[in-house]
Symmetry: C3
Subunit: 323 residues, 3 copies
C-alpha cells in the first residue's frame, strides 16, 4: 500500500517528514496531538525532555536561514539531542565531495537525523531516498516546493484557536506563486477537512494550476476575506517586485495589505497569521500585526512544539526500522 | 523608589545588568559575593552547576567579539544553560526584520536571557526596555558607554587581592576617552568606596567631563602611579593612533607604557591589571605583563565567575517576575 | 628516560597526542584497545559516556576543516564534554593578540584540552610545549607533517579486520610527498610490527628520504599491490596537478587509480582504505569505493572511537599531572 510513499514505513508510520502531500489526516493529526503534548515543555522552568538524549541531529543547511535553523536547534535541544550544524556549501562541496559521500560519512559518524534546507525542490527527497535505515530526514524548506513544518505549525495554531477544521473558512493572501509554504498550507488544510480554502492574490502571483488544488480564487482582498475564520498572510519577497510582477510596495499594500478597517468583513473572532518576518506596511499594518487578532508570535512558539513532535515521531520510527 | 531604574525590579533586586550606574553598593557586593561562591566551580573536575538547566541564553552579538562571546558562553554552560549564538546583523537584519520583531520572536521561542553586544550606546537599554517580563538582559558592551561585566570582574579581582576598597588608591591609565570599560570602572570603584581613584592619560584621550566623575587627573605616569595599590592599564585601540590623537606607539610607550622600573614608585604589593588583549611593548613591557604583580590572567578566570553570578542573579529575579 | 618526549609524562603515559613518532607499541596499542571499548558507544541508543562531563575542549582551528572539526566535536560530545570552537585567525589574531596570550587566556578560562589544526608543521608541538600542566593537546593535522588521529583510526580499522600487524603486507598509494597522513601511517605501521610496508607513487610525489623510513618503494601499481593485505589510497590534492608534477587526472587514474580488475592481484581478502573525501575516478573507481573490499565508511565510524580514546587518555593523564 505505502510502497511508493517514501515518507512512511511498511506499517504506514511517519519515517521522514518531507512534504504534506501523501500524508493522511491521521498522520497530520498525530503530529498535532504530539505537538500539543510538547507545547507545555517550553513554558516549564526546565525546558527539556530526555526523549532524544544521546541522539545526534545534523542540520544540513545548503542555504542560510538563521531563523529556521534556530527553531530546529532549539527544538532538538529541548528533546535533549546533540546538534551538529553544517554549512554544506562551504565545506565538503569545496573539497569536491559528492552529496552522497557527505551523507554516507555523516551516517558513519552515527548521526540519527538530517534536517535539510536546500534551494532546490526535491533535495530532501533525494537525501531521504538515499539515507540509511536508521536515519530520519526532515525537510526544512526546499526551493518553491515545500516547507512542511511551517505549514504544520500553522495548522497547530489554527486548531488551538478554532478546535476543528470542519466548518472553517481560511484565506491565504499574497504571493502564492513563489511561496515555499502556501502549497503546503493548502494541502494540509484540505487534508484536515477545512470547509473552504481561499487564495487571494494578483493574477501575476498565482500558479497556473492553482484551481486544481481545491481552492477558491479571489483577486480582491475585501471580497476574499469576507466571513473568513482565519487570514494567513504570506511574506512578500521584495526581490519579486522586480520584473514588473508588482508595481510597488505601496501599490501592493493598497491592494492586498491588511488593515483593521478591512478586517471588519472577516468574522469577529477571525485570527491573523504570518510566517514572519513581517514587512510592516507592506503585507499588513502594524496595528494588525500587533493587534488582538494577530497570533503571529504564537505561531513562533508553536513552531518549537511542532518541530519537537516531527523530530521525535520520525526518529522513533526510524530507530525502530534500524533495529 | 526604583521606578525609574530599569535594572531593578519593584523589590529593588537586580533584574537586568546594563550599567554600573544607579546600582547600589549592596547590589555590587551581592554580585561579588555570588561570584565568590562560583569561583570554585571552574576549578572542579566537573565544572558545572545545575542552576540554569533547561534555560536558553541567546547571545545577540551585533558586533563580533569572539573573546567576550566565549566567556559568556562558558559561563552559561557552567550554569548548565543552553546557548544560542546569533549574529544578528547577518541574519534577520538582512531580511528587513526590525530589532523589536527579532526580540519578540526569540521571546516566543522562550529564550530566558539576552546577552547583548552592540556598537551603539544604549542598545542593551533599549532591548531591556522592550523585553518580556520573564526575560533578563545583560549588557556585554555597548559603544563607548559601558562594559559592566568587565568592570565587575576587575572589582572582583581587586577585592580578592586587597579585601577592602576603603583605603585603596587605584590608578586607571590610558585611553579613557574611547574606553568602553574605564567609565564603568570609575563608577564601580567609587560606589564600592575606593578612597582615591586616579586617571592617567594625555589630554587628548580624556573626556571633557572627567573631573565630574570623582577622579584625580594626572597627565604624568610617574606622578600618577605613586603609592597606588592597583594599576589598571587600558587597551590602546591602535586605530586611535590616526588623526593625530597620538604621535606613535613608540611615543605612547615612552610616556604611558608600564615598566618594572616605573612600577617601583607604586606600593610594593601593587597589582597590575589589563582587560586584554595586551599590546606588549605599547601599554606595558612583557616583563610587567608576565611579572609577579600582574593579575591579568586571574582577571580572565574571574570573568567566568562574575558572568555566572550576573546571569544567575538576573535570571532568578526575572523568573520570579514572570511567575 | 622520557625527558625529551613532550608527549609523555614522567611515568611514560600519554599526555599530549601530537605525532606517532616516539610513541611505543604499548602506547599505540593502549589507544587501539581504548578505542575498542568506545566503539560500541556510537551504536547505542544513548550515544554518550559521562567520562569527560564538565570538561571543556577548545577546538583551535587555524585552518578550516569542517570534516575534522566535526569528528572531534562528535567525539567530545560522546564523552559528555563541552566544546568551544574557535576560529583563531578570525578573532584574536586580528586584534593583534599573540598565540601565547590566546593560550593563556583559554587556560585561565579553565579549558582542559586544545585540539589544534594548523597549516604549519610543529604548531601543535609549540602549543603543547607552552600549555599549562593540566591541559592536554591533540594534533588534528599540522602542515605536511602529521595527522596522527587519522593514522590511528587507520590502524584501528586494519586491526579490526586483520587482528595482527605481524604478517601483514600493507601498500600506501598516491601522493606521499604532500600527504599529512602518509608519514604518520608509515611510522604507526612499523611501530605496530607490520611485516612489510610498501609505498607506491610516481617519483615526483615521493619525498627524497622515503627509503629511510623502512618502506619498499614501487612506482608501478600492479607490482606494488601484488599479494598485499591492505591497500591505503591517499587523497590526491588536485592543486598538486599544477606545476607539472602530474600530467592530468585522467593520466593519474590510468597509472595509479584502483579498479576491481587491478585489485585481483592483491590478496583475496584485501581491504581498501581512503581517508576521504574520495575523488571518484581519480584515486579509485566508484566500483571499488563502494565495493565489498572497501572499508572507507568504517574508517569514518572508527575515527570517532579513536578520537574519544585519545581525548580520554590524554585528559585523564593531564588531569593527574595538574592535581
Amino acid at each position: 500500500m505505502h510502497s511508493h510513499n517514501i515518507q512512511l514505513d511498511k506499517q504506514g508510520r511517519l519515517r521522514h517528514f518531507l512534504t504534506i502531500e501523501d500524508l493522511s489526516r491521521e498522520i497530520l493529526t498525530e503530529i498535532l496531538d504530539t505537538a500539543e503534548s510538547f507545547s507545555g515543555v517550553s513554558e516549564r522552568s526546565v525546558k527539556k525532555v530526555p526523549i532524544c538524549r544521546g541522539k545526534v541531529i545534523a542540520n544540513l543547511f545548503f542555504e542560510t536561514s538563521t531563523r529556521t535553523r534556530t527553531t530546529f536547534e532549539l527544538a532538538a535541544k529541548r528533546l535533549s539531542a546533540d546538534v551538529l550544524s553544517l554549512n554544506i556549501s562551504a565545506s565538503s562541496a569545496s573539497k569536491g565531495e559528492t552529496l552522497l559521500d557527505t551523507l554516507r560519512n555523516l551516517e558513519a559518524m552515527h548521526c540519527d537525523m538530517f534536517v535539510v534546507r536546500h534551494n532546490e525542490s526535491g533535495a530532501a527527497h533525494f537525501i531521504a531516498n538515499n539515507a540509511a535505515p536508521g536515519v530520519a530526514v526532515i525537510n526544512a524548506g526546499d526551493g518553491r516546493h515545500a516547507h512542511p513544518t511551517q505549514a504544520m505549525l500553522d495548522m497547530f495554531t489554527i486548531r488551538r484557536h478554532k478546535k476543528e477544521f470542519v466548518g472553517l473558512r481560511v484565506a491565504i493572501v499574497g504571493d502564492i506563486l513563489h511561496s515555499r509554504v502556501a502549497r503546503s498550507q493548502i494541502i494540509a488544510l484540505n487534508t484536515l477537512g477545512t470547509s473552504e480554502v481561499r487564495v487571494i492574490a494578483p493574477r501575476t502571483l498565482l500558479p497556473a494550476e492553482i484551481r486544481m488544488m481545491g481552492v477558491h480564487v479571489y483577486h480582491d482582498l475585501d471580497e476574499g476575506i469576507k466571513d473568513v475564520d482565519v487570514v494567513i498572510m504570506l511574506r512578500l519577497q521584495k526581490e519579486r517586485m522586480q520584473g514588473a510582477l508588482l508595481p510597488s510596495e505601496h501599490e501592493y499594500f493598497r491592494l492586498y495589505g491588511l488593515t483593521e478597517a478591512r478586517l471588519r468583513v472577516a468574522k469577529p473572532d477571525a485570527i491573523v497569521m504570518h510566517p514572519g518576518p513581517i514587512n510592516r506596511g507592506v503585507e499588513m499594518d502594524t496595528e494588525v500585526a500587533d493587534g488582538p487578532r494577530s497570533v503571529i508570535l504564537e505561531q513562533v512558539s508553536n513552531g518549537i512544539a511542532v518541530r519537537m513532535a516531527v523530530m521525535s515521531i520520525t526518529m522513533s520510527n526510524a530507530g525502530g526500522q534500524a533495529a
